[in-house]
Subunit: 394 residues, 2 copies
């Protein structure tokens, strides 16, 4: 097979011509809009003039880029910004005009806020019956958590997910990546795109609701279904746990010079390949889950005696599913990382640039990249007013 990323593009990006108004802040909603922008949509962030998206001030690792957080720039690449105060009638009149000419709108206000602003789904479909209206909440549109603040770590904690990682002797271990935000954004993009597919047939828009809780719960669906079936709360293993329902040897093990991951593999065969005689007795697959701690402790002690490469030389030729554990400095030096061209450079009008990641989806054999960085607050207000023939407020 040839490298299809070299094929010439003959089609527009999939969402070329789709206009998205994004009223959302922080991570989940903007990550949905980012994906729609990646795929070719024109995304306009509608932001309050006094500060805008609060993510602009959400600094992680003490890193800023200009006046805003690097985090904001990462998640808002390739978008435009329109400043509007939804409490001012003349601004709201302009927002109505934007809605009338858009395909999608997104918000993450708490339940009830858009209703009070006169931008409920029912109100918006009066303005434009073709709009797909996407809303993100923390805990869904019903129930006692409806008005609770939706935040990634809190939803990991309430959803039970924090009990699925780490070892049995630890407390709950949260994920180091914002899984709830990103997965919720991904689900919102799915719902919005499916609604656009339907609109091409019916001519009518839709309302799409997602929440951090429902999305993070969905991420646990396999293990939760097992829980519903046997009623036993999941128990993490005591030794190198990598999943509450996984049998030995599934896990990550220290070697004499690093770490080695081993996925599903018959334990007795693994013992043969590694020269670990104590594993040979485990020839009944039912023992691999029931005695996972015993097996993994034997394996842990054995693997610690040699280098990662020593073990890979035995396992890879035998097609055992295994891998070296890399950190980022190792990863970025690897030829595989370079071949995938996983990064891109954003360029700013003032001459600055920012390296970040790219869209993970290839379309028509092409990597999708875009060099436009995140917008300054209100950077495109005048441009958009001209484009949409909006009168400038006095």
């Amino acid at each position: 097979m040839t490298d299809s990323s070299e094929a010439s593009a003959t089609e527009p990006l999939p969402l070329a011509g789709i206009r998205v108004l994004d009223f959302s802040q922080y991570l989940a909603g903007p990550s949905c809009a980012l994906r729609l922008a990646d795929l070719g949509a024109d995304v306009i962030k509608v932001e309050r003039g006094d500060g805008g998206d609060q993510c602009r001030k959400l600094v992680i690792a003490n890193q800023r880029f200009g006046d805003d957080s690097v985090l904001f720039h990462t998640i808002n690449r390739n978008k435009r910004s329109f400043a509007a105060d939804l409490k001012k009638p003349q601004d709201m009149a302009q927002v109505h005009r934007l809605i009338a000419q858009s395909d999608v709108m997104i918000h993450n206000f708490r339940p009830g806020v858009m209703e009070r602003l006169g931008l409920s789904w029912e109100a918006v479909r009066q303005i434009n019956p073709r709009v797909v209206y996407g809303a993100v909440t923390g805990y869904g549109v019903v129930g006692p958590w409806r008005d609770k603040p939706g935040q990634d770590l809190l939803v990991q904690s309430l959803s039970g997910m924090a009990w699925l990682s780490g070892d049995a002797d630890q407390g709950p271990v949260p994920s180091g990546v914002p899984a709830a935000d990103i997965l919720t954004g991904a689900h919102l993009a799915q719902g919005i795109l499916a609604a656009l597919v339907r609109r091409a047939v019916t001519g009518r828009g839709a309302r799409v609701d997602v929440s951090l809780m429902e999305s993070l719960f969905d991420l646990q669906f396999e293990i939760f279904t097992a829980y519903l079936r046997d009623g036993k709360a999941p128990q993490r293993g005591k030794v190198n746990s990598a999943g509450v329902v996984s049998a030995a040897p599934y896990g990550i093990y220290a070697t004499s010079d690093g770490y080695l991951a081993i996925a599903m593999t018959p334990v007795d065969r693994l013992g043969q390949l590694l020269g670990c005689e104590s594993l040979l007795a485990f020839d009944d697959p039912l023992t691999w889950f029931a005695q996972r701690d015993t097996i993994k402790a034997l394996l842990r002690d054995h693997l610690a005696t040699q280098t990662t490469q020593h073990w890979l030389d035995r396992l890879e030729p035998a097609d055992v599913w295994c891998a070296r554990v890399l950190d980022w400095p190792q990863l970025v030096e690897h030829d595989a990382f370079k071949a995938l061209e996983l990064t891109q450079e954003l360029r700013y009008a003032d001459g600055q640039s920012l390296m970040t990641t790219r869209c993970p989806i290839r379309v028509d054999g092409q990597r999708i990249t875009a060099t436009r960085g995140a917008p300054l607050l209100g950077e495109h207000t005048d441009e958009i007013r001209a484009e949409f023939s909006l009168v400038q407020p006095a």
Copy 2:
């Protein structure tokens, strides 16, 4: 706001009328097809007659349902199964007829396999130029890892993600949920749906490629961008780490009777609310990241002295972002869980039933549920032959 889930459905599901042929196995591809099925598509699993999707045999927690794993049933609800051997000319002729009448096809064969079978994207578009052709690989279509087995734990290990969770004194800590599989499936669904949006305009299909590595890398995009900027490998905190770039107090803490999660909050204010005088000195926000271990150790010792409810009574009225940490037995008893109606019952022809989760996306204010369980291998072969006017092979 009223409970919109009670609104009556007036529209078909978004993907009603879309037909998906799914040749993929295990988790990533089938999880994409599951979401398309949730949203209304007719999903046909094309499986080898001798064993079918290998996920049927992938037993987790020693749980089976009939002849197959519960895992298989969880991820393949609401699909049909068509048995075909792609190496038999008469079966392949039928598959060509199915492709000619389908909107989407999905596979996760290693690079080159579909080309050898005569089902490359170039070949398939000759059969049906409107088909959207989605492919899942482990590590992308180029580079030295192209032919390496793609598996969730291994990709977590190679992508650097395993170094983002857990505390500084631990080795790499993998996620207890299959984040790579599920996110890759989500990205594939996004790409396929965006291509269907474009097809409604152009009349032409598309090729969409995703990989476990590119998707898991995208999940880390915020932190990786910070890494690219300062070149410093991320360091987990020593105390209750919940993210390599997060300042104190972000984390989960043991109380005298459970666990409490606290998200972004000014440390000095937190000290006032909790009556923890040693925190009052940290009034410079720059210290919250730089001295996160010191701050979190003080907080850890203080929070251990009282119950979770004691602290919630002080923090929640002050609008601090915090939450109790629940396990599943606690979650399923909670009114919030019940109000969200997060589960559904699958029903089987033989009278059995299986409780599982539901689609996390609400459309037009409706929860989306479907009672049809996963198919037996080849269960719908005859039905589909009749529907597509396929001649039964001799």
